[in-house]
Symmetry: C2
Subunit: 347 residues, 2 copies
Amino acid sequence: MTLPRPIQWTGTGTVRLLDQTALPDDERYRDITTVAAMREAIAALRVRGAPLIGIAAAIAVTLTEAGAGAGPTLEDVRAACSELDAARPTAVNLRWALDRMRHRAEVAVAADDPMAPALRAEAQAIWDEDRAMCERIGEAGAELLGDGDVVLTHCNAGALATGGIGTALAPVYVAQRSGRHIRVIVDETRPLLQGSRLTAWELGRAGVAYTVIADGMAAARLRRGDVRCVLVGADRIAANGDVANKIGTYGLALAARAHGVPFYVAAPRSSVDLAAPDGAAIPIEQRAAGEVRGFRGAASTPSGAEVWNPAFDVTPAELVTGYLTDGGLLTARELGGLAPLSELAVR
Amino acid sequence: MTLPRPIQWTGTGTVRLLDQTALPDDERYRDITTVAAMREAIAALRVRGAPLIGIAAAIAVTLTEAGAGAGPTLEDVRAACSELDAARPTAVNLRWALDRMRHRAEVAVAADDPMAPALRAEAQAIWDEDRAMCERIGEAGAELLGDGDVVLTHCNAGALATGGIGTALAPVYVAQRSGRHIRVIVDETRPLLQGSRLTAWELGRAGVAYTVIADGMAAARLRRGDVRCVLVGADRIAANGDVANKIGTYGLALAARAHGVPFYVAAPRSSVDLAAPDGAAIPIEQRAAGEVRGFRGAASTPSGAEVWNPAFDVTPAELVTGYLTDGGLLTARELGGLAPLSELAVR
């Protein structure tokens, strides 16, 4: 099973990104050498997916430019974190990863440790932990899947969205590794087509069977009765279990409920924001009109058409069957009540 | 208020179509002079919309080629009807209009009337009746709308889909004519984007305010609470009120129900097929994979990706608040029980 590597260290301590805006046509890599370049890459969705942008931002902090001859100062690190934090507003992982980097920089200064190795170790730890979390999510979710099962997913919460085997797709990969064949119904996920461009590409590489549908087909597909469960990721989960995820997730959850199809949200516990009591407290990113006005460069509306383009929606906890986390399959109540979560979230 | 004219007689008795596949970029017209050309135009969606393809097919029958010096024979007409009937399977209007044309040809032969004028008169009658039905649908629906209301629609069931002011959009136009300002939220309607390409273009011409959204945004938009009602058309309505309409309609109906937003289906009574007891009896057209694999040449999936592409879905009658018809606002029970409907449908 070959999974893509959306982010890699280069030999020289900079980082190489797979430019996800060019998929599925081109597998194009970009070397990122500055904080500003990573901020642009995050804002332009060259690198995307809540867990992955946390990793990417952490790695970007290691690129903080130092004054001549010196390592970066705490002020340099804080400035880099502020710059990166503003790149996208909804995913909590970005803020959480930057909080960790800032904290590590403070510890290094207090202990008089050299800054650069400390930052690099912390970024690598965030990445390694994410990879391990993906595996645990996959193990928890694979128990739900039998040979020949069909699952339905939205957007991309796979290897291209994380530092490992993904969140929503992790159960599929773990099941497939153990010899169970799964078919994935892939919502194309307008406007940016992360499903048809990224999830389909990634599943094809991994040798997993898939079927792409337009987003409006999901309800009709669920009605056919052959979908075992819906698996989606999360950009942020509120304390009560409400889930901010890619726009379209909420309608999908309503359709799943109408047909009695289990609806699972797969995310590391670091996606839980205990400071947000419910979904209404989660800021929703509004993106540019051009994304809805066209389709990969081809205009699809009259020029200048008024559009509404929220990048995410909120699925209320009552529509979620369970949360597949690095701590196993949890209920909304368990998710909000676990002590380690608050440490993870506010650290 | 300027509405487009998707079909027009030319001075020479042939017909001119607005090629809807080229919108919104190009307003391109094609002269259609043969049955085969009209069949191609219907199958390729150059002319589309359940009522309009009925009109277009009826007009195409008037183009039936006659033997040298003679008008078309009954056999010529029957062959033309068979050819046109196979162009698309789901909309009942196509079959219904062709049944009328065949019947008129039989009457002409029995009465020894000249064939060509008889066919032309029947096609014009179908068109004129459709125009009048649109007006009555508009009057029935406009009563539901107040100044400043926001409605949400899917696909295109406007002037571009009918011989008049549309079905789902007719209430908007009637309200607007009487000085009430309405905003229409337009689902873009993948894969062929009839909402963003056609409905937005048509509303813009008519001076009606609109906002285009991706299909997956509809549930989030309905949750905001500012949508007065959902208005959609129908390609075929079963005797129990189940509605076959553009793929995505069913998910929209589920979302409307979840938010208590009234969901109206606007269609002439000729869209009711009393021979179909419920939605399961309605054949659903499966269209080519290429429609989901991209848009206008821009690929959105890996090449050769497996897709599922039903053109329509079925919304169960229990999700429909009411049917806006040329006979007023009806319930499913009224729709199935009205005597004139069976005459219309089987005539």
